[in-house]
């Protein structure tokens, strides 16, 4: 079984994010990390590939930088990676991202595509759905549990009141939620092996995709500030402050 996992390298979320003047694009340093939410997709892909005699190929779009984020996913055990980096992709929106990823996935061939539900830095939350439309495959989203067998994929799909059991024939696209599986930590051997694995670099020309801007951030403004906050240290009586605020708001 051929499993393709979409992953994204993002600026370390522990560092403050900045926008570039003029374009309002996110500033991306050369040292980026694997989006934490993608670790769940990689782990899911590895488990399903192992159970079904398959392989895991990573597909990623964005500035390669030093490839640290992709190497992190390879160190978990993925077989190889395809990275699409092209200066014409700077500031790409969700649809361009989906077109590029779908083209790369088509070139690789796939039985199952796995992605996260939304990235931590952009969080548009629609790229997996767009990819599935472009690949003409079913979209199984918000998966909290995934199984593959008999040429079918079955998931638990999160709903507002619980979950639905959803089934579709392969090939299919599955978007997993964080928590679908417990991601493994790379072993020392995994990290060493990852250095020898192939990261194939592709450009837009290689894929025959023409980028097109479908959404633009025109300007940025500051959100209205919340005022009048009070901060106190608990010295054993702080709960009384809560009580008096609840009384003031007439809820007790």
């Amino acid at each position: 079984m051929k499993v393709v996992v979409c992953v994204k390298q993002i600026p370390d979320p522990a560092t403050p994010y900045k926008l570039e003047e003029g374009t309002n694009w996110l500033v991306r340093p050369s040292e980026q990390v694997l989006d934490d939410t993608d670790r769940y997709g990689v782990e899911m892909g590895l488990q399903l590939a192992q159970a079904n005699d398959g392989t895991v190929t990573l597909v990623s779009m964005g500035p390669a930088g030093n490839n640290q984020g992709v190497r992190q996913a390879l160190a978990m055990g993925a077989d190889k990676a395809v990275l699409i980096d092209d200066s014409d992709l700077r500031g790409s929106d969700a649809l361009t991202t989906a077109r590029v990823l779908a083209a790369a996935i088509k070139e690789e061939g796939f039985d199952l595509v796995i992605a996260g539900t939304e990235s931590t830095d952009g969080y548009a939350g629609v790229v997996p759905q767009m990819i599935s439309e472009l690949l003409d495959a079913p979209t199984l989203t918000f998966a909290t549990h995934v199984e593959v067998g008999d040429g079918k994929v079955t998931i638990h799909r999160q709903t507002a009141s619980g979950y639905d059991v959803v089934e579709a024939p392969l090939p299919a696209v599955v978007a997993v939620t964080a928590g679908v599986v417990e991601p493994r930590y790379p072993t020392f051997k995994g990290i060493m092996d990852a250095k020898k694995k192939t990261v194939e670099n592709k450009t837009l020309a290689d894929l025959g995709v023409t980028p097109e801007t479908t959404q633009t951030v025109e300007s940025i403004k500051n959100a209205p500030e919340r005022s009048g906050g009070k901060k106190i240290e608990d010295e054993g009586e702080a709960h009384l402050e809560i009580i008096s605020l609840l009384e003031e708001r007439k809820v007790i």
Binding site: Y123, E133, Q215, G229, H239, R249
Partner: protein, 315 residues
């Protein structure tokens, strides 16, 4: 007049609250057509009319996962009727329909919007970035503009509209290749619901263990509050996903929000920072949650919460 379409999914036999919020906004922007997914019926359609729908396109998906067939049917309908704007909610099926539809039509999506308005050459939206510290104003190319709106961005208020014209929107049969819903599980929910409760109490990693979430439940019972959680403790399996407040979970705007052992990660803040009064308890004086709190208590939840519960018991 602009032609505004609103996608609304049925929830428990009636139009969803999120859908009615969008519909209330839409009727201030132009002529409104609702794309309604669900069983429907006179009562549901009358509600849509009252909230401003002049026309309803009614689709039923049966046991198919709706996104692919709805996107396909909507794409043809949009190509013939040419609406200016399609509003959907930042919700599960809405996101699936919007993503597939946008890819099919080759237009962009403005996601996570908290406001939307018509401008000279199209549509402009606002969405929060950096945990709500800043707001990005964005536009999309192509027609129609597809906009995903976060829950509770607008208040749902009935108008005085009459019963709408109802037309059936036939969904194509995707045959064997389509995704099917083969079972539905409803997780048992006790007490007030997160989205609607006037008081919400959430716990985070600072509770230290799954067992300590019991403090949140106890306080919730005492105050008649709904109980929520951060993504961190949902991912850790301490509480079910249905309790998650934040970007991927629920958006809440209660009168009182109590955050206990919650650091205030970006993805949590966007789901609760518009609560009227926020009370935060956290050991770390530099925790970002304090930047949105009306009352911040730097202290140990394991000390403050039991005392608070006891004091309330003694009243």
């Amino acid at each position: 007049m602009a032609s505004v379409w609103v996608f609304i999914q049925e929830d428990d036999g009636a139009p969803s609250t999120l859908g009615l919020e969008l519909l209330t906004k839409a009727r201030s922007m132009g002529d409104v057509t609702v794309v309604y997914l669900g069983t429907g019926g006179d009562e549901a359609f009358a509600t849509l009319g009252k909230f401003g729908a002049a026309k309803v396109l009614h689709a039923t998906a049966g046991d198919s996962l709706p996104s692919a067939p709805v996107a396909a049917a909507l794409a043809s309908k949009i190509e013939s009727d040419k609406p200016d704007l399609l509003l959907l909610g930042q919700a599960y099926t809405d996101r699936d329909v919007a993503g597939r539809l946008a890819a099919r039509l080759g237009v962009g999506i403005l996601s996570n919007s908290s406001d939307v308005r018509l401008v000279d050459d199209g549509v402009e939206t606002e969405h929060e970035i950096f945990g709500g510290a800043q707001i990005a104003i964005a536009t999309a190319a192509g027609s129609p503009s597809i906009v995903l709106v976060r829950p509770k961005s607008f208040a749902a208020e009935p108008g005085d509209g009459s019963a709408p014209e109802v037309e059936v929107l036939d969904l194509p049969d995707a045959g064997a290749s389509s995704a099917k819903v083969i079972a539905s599980h409803v997780e048992e929910r006790e007490g007030p619901q997160l989205g609607e409760a006037p008081i919400v109490i959430s716990g985070g990693r600072g509770l230290g263990s799954a067992e300590a979430y019991d403090l949140i439940e106890q306080l919730g019972k005492k105050l008649g509050a709904a109980t929520g959680a951060t993504r961190a403790i949902v991912d850790s399996g301490w509480v079910p996903y249905a309790k998650q407040v934040g970007q991927t979970g629920k958006t809440v705007k209660p009168d009182i929000y109590i955050a206990a052992g919650v650091s205030g990660a970006m993805q949590h803040l966007v789901g609760m920072k518009d609560s009227k009064t926020i009370i935060a308890i956290n050991k770390d004086p530099d925790a970002p949650i304090f930047s949105v709190a009306d009352l911040g208590i730097v202290g140990d939840v394991h000390k403050v919460l039991p005392k608070l519960i006891e004091a309330l018991n003694n009243r």
